[in-house]
């Protein structure tokens, strides 16, 4: 098993080297004529104004919490899905109960208007 991951490790190293080498090599051939105005942050000549760290809406935070919960639920279901072929009908019903609970949570959020992000 470790042999299989050895390949992934090598791939990771190769990818990191290739990804890092390109910008470094490019630095050797490209012009470097930085003037202060060029290094200012703008987009289509619209300079940014105010600070970057304005407070963003709290809905983003609730979105990530809900995502995290469903993520955890999915991880609980994955081993069951793997073993599904060898299991009996009643286990499917147990998992459906699990999923119905999640669906109940989702419906609750929906009714509360918590799914209206942004």
């Amino acid at each position: 098993m470790l042999n299989q991951f050895a390949f992934i490790g090598f791939l990771l190293i190769v990818a990191l080297i290739l990804g890092a080498a390109t910008p470094i090599l490019a630095r050797l051939v490209r012009p470097q004529k930085a003037i202060p105005r060029k290094l200012e942050m703008d987009e289509c000549d619209m300079r940014t104004h105010g600070e970057t760290w304005v407070e963003f809406k709290a809905q983003y935070y609730t979105l990530v919490i809900v995502f995290l919960l469903f993520d955890v639920a999915a991880v609980f279901l994955l081993p069951w899905a793997l073993a599904y072929n060898t299991l009996e009908l009643y286990t499917a019903i147990e998992v459906i109960a699990f999923i119905l609970m999640l669906l109940g949570g989702l419906v609750y959020l929906w009714r509360k208007g918590a799914l209206e992000w942004l």
Binding site: F5, T62, Y84
Partner: protein, 166 residues
Amino acid sequence: MTLQQILFLIFSAITLIAALMVVTRRNLCHAALFMVLSFFGVAGLYVLLEAPFLAGVQVFIYVGGISTLIIFAIVLTRDVVDPTLPPHNRQWIAGALVMALLCSVLIWTVLGYQWTTTTPGQVPADSIARLGTILVDPEGFLLPFEVTSVLLFAVLIGAITIARER
């Protein structure tokens, strides 16, 4: 030293150094990114322990979920990159005491434990499927499994209630 031991040292070093950086960096975004690196190091350790599913879960939940949650929390707070702010608050003495206590307990346990030096058994190829079977087995972990769904439901409602109450 075998190759596995070298790899273990490398992954532990990545995890620990990254963890150290998390607490020493003044810049909160750097701290959060080092935390991601630390999580990856732990995933590498799981791979070395021949638990690839656990490594996947580590990346999936911790990097994908928890780090994103923390990074979003940082984005939602003010003054995260102000280097003039003190890195700790008034409770740092109490925190240091608790940590020293915990650390000594851990060291005491590790030193006092009778470590077996036999070679570990072969990890069965269908270990994840066995996990799935025992999770939904009434003799196994069916009750915790179903309670988990109730817990997730409760957390979902709680999180929304707290976030909306403003």
